[in-house]
C-alpha cells in the first residue's frame, strides 16, 4: 500500500507564516485591531484559503461557503479587539471556531440538520482510518461527497474533535442521533473507499 507522505512541518499557522516575511502575526493583528485596512486585507489573504476549506467542508455549495466565509471574517474583525493574542496556533483556532459556528448557524438556518431517530445497530469502532492517508485535496472531495447531516457530525467529531455530547448541544440533537449520523457517515466513507470503481481505492490502496 502506497502511503502518501505527510507534509512537513505540520503547522496550523503555515499560512500565517508563508506570507509573513516582514510583519509577525502579533504585529499584524495589532494593526488590524487599530483598523488598518491594509493589514486586515493581508490577514484575510493569509487565512482565506484554510478558512474556505473549513466552510466548504460544512456547506453544500461554494456560494454558501463564500457567504459564510465573509460572515466569519466580518465577525472576526469586529471582535478582534476582544481577542487576547496567545500565539499563532491559538489565533488560528479562534478564527476557525468562528467559521465553524457560522457554518453551523447557516445549516440550522437552512434547516439542513434534522434530528432523525435511527433505530439501527451502531458500530462505533467502524474503521475509516485509511482516509487519513488521502491527499488533502482528495480528503476534502471525499468529505464533500457525504450528505450534509452525516457530514456535519463527521466534521465535528472526526476533524474538530467534538464529543457526541458537544455535537448534540451544538446541533440540538440527541447523543444517539449524533452517534448514528457519524456511523452513517463512516459507512458511506467505507463504501466510497472500498468501491472497485472508486478512484481513491485505485490511487491509494491498490
Amino acid at each position: 500500500m502506497k502511503i502518501p507522505p505527510l507534509r512537513q512541518p505540520f503547522r496550523y499557522y503555515r499560512h500565517l507564516h508563508n506570507q509573513m516575511h516582514l510583519v509577525n502575526t502579533k504585529d499584524l493583528i495589532d494593526q488590524c485591531k487599530s483598523g488598518d485596512r491594509k493589514a486586515q486585507q493581508q490577514l484575510f489573504n493569509q487565512l482565506s484559503s484554510p478558512m474556505m476549506g473549513v466552510c466548504i467542508r460544512y456547506l453544500k455549495n461554494t456560494e454558501d461557503a463564500e457567504e459564510v466565509l465573509l460572515d466569519g471574517f466580518y465577525k472576526m474583525f469586529r471582535h478582534l479587539n476582544r481577542m487576547t493574542y496567545q500565539g499563532e496556533k491559538s489565533f488560528f483556532g479562534w478564527v476557525k471556531k468562528i467559521m465553524i459556528n457560522e457554518a453551523l448557524m447557516r445549516l440550522r438556518k437552512n434547516k439542513e440538520i434534522r434530528s432523525v431517530a435511527i433505530n439501527e445497530e451502531i458500530d462505533e469502532n467502524l474503521d475509516v482510518s485509511p482516509i487519513k492517508q488521502l491527499e488533502v485535496e482528495d480528503l476534502l472531495k471525499i468529505i464533500q461527497m457525504i450528505p450534509i447531516g452525516y457530514r456535519t457530525v463527521f466534521n465535528l467529531h472526526e476533524i474538530e474533535g467534538y464529543s457526541h455530547k458537544e455535537i448534540g448541544e451544538a446541533l440540538k440533537i440527541s447523543v444517539g442521533t449524533s452517534k448514528s449520523q457519524l456511523f452513517k457517515a463512516k459507512k458511506l466513507l467505507q463504501v466510497y473507499l472500498k468501491s472497485e470503481n472508486n478512484e481513491y481505492r485505485t490511487k491509494y490502496f491498490i
Binding site: K132, V136, G161
Partner: protein
C-alpha cells in the same frame, strides 16, 4: 473537545488555495468584506451623530418650550391686566353690588356690635359725610415681576365697604399695599384687611 493531535484536522487546516478544488477569488471577496466593514463604520458614525443630535435636542427643546411658555404666560397676563384695567359698565356692576349689599346687611350687624363695644356709635358712623374709599392697587408678586392692578370695589356706602372688607378676595392674612382715598386725601399703605377695617372706622 478532544485537543489531542488530529491528523485529519492538521491536514485540512493547511489546505492551500490550489487544493480547495474551487476558484477562490480573494480580491473579489476582500472587496465585498471591505464594503461591509466600511458600511459598518459609517453606520457606527451615523449612530453617534444621531445620539449626539438627540442629546443636543434634549437640551434645546426644553429651552425653546420654556421660552414659548413664558411668552404665552406673559401674553396671558397682559391680556388679564388689560381686562382688569377696563372699567366696568353700570350693567356689570349693578348685580354685583346687589349681592354685596345683601351680604353686607348680614355681616354689618355683628360688626356694628363689635364697634359699639369699642365705644363707637353706629349712628355717628353713619353721620359722617359719605367717604369714597377706593381700593385699587394690589401688587401681586408672582414669579414674573408683573404688577396687577385691580379695583376691588368703589363705593361710598359704608356697608358695602364693610362687607367687602369682611370678605376679601384674597387671603386676609396677606398684606397688600392699598391706595386709599378718604375724604379727598390719598396715600399708600401696607396693611391687612382686619387692621384696615378697624383703622377705617377709627379714622372716620
Amino acid at each position: 473537545m478532544n485537543t489531542g493531535r488530529n491528523i485529519l484536522s492538521e491536514k485540512l487546516d493547511q489546505i492551500g488555495k490550489s487544493e480547495l478544488g474551487i476558484e477562490l477569488d480573494e480580491s473579489l471577496l476582500w472587496d465585498q468584506l471591505n464594503n461591509r466593514l466600511t458600511k459598518k463604520k459609517s453606520v457606527v458614525w451615523r449612530r453617534i451623530l444621531v445620539a449626539a443630535s438627540l442629546v443636543a435636542l434634549m437640551f434645546i427643546v426644553p429651552t425653546i418650550v420654556s421660552k414659548d411658555t413664558s411668552t404665552a404666560e406673559l401674553a396671558e397676563i397682559k391680556s388679564e391686566i388689560e381686562k382688569v384695567n377696563k372699567p366696568m359698565t353700570q350693567s356689570e356692576t349693578e348685580p354685583v353690588l346687589e349681592i354685596v349689599s345683601d351680604e353686607a346687611m348680614k355681616i354689618s350687624k355683628p360688626s356694628i356690635i363689635k364697634l359699639r363695644r369699642k365705644g363707637l356709635d353706629e349712628i355717628n358712623l353713619l353721620m359722617y359725610p359719605p367717604s369714597e374709599i377706593v381700593l385699587n392697587s394690589i401688587s401681586v408678586k408672582n414669579k414674573q415681576p408683573i404688577v396687577l392692578k385691580k379695583s376691588f370695589f368703589k363705593s361710598t356706602d359704608i356697608a358695602i365697604i364693610q362687607a367687602s372688607l369682611q370678605n376679601p378676595p384674597i387671603s386676609p392674612k396677606r398684606k397688600l399695599p392699598i391706595e386709599t382715598g378718604i375724604l379727598g386725601s390719598s396715600g399708600t399703605t401696607e396693611i391687612d384687611y382686619k387692621e384696615l377695617k378697624i383703622r377705617l372706622y377709627v379714622k372716620n
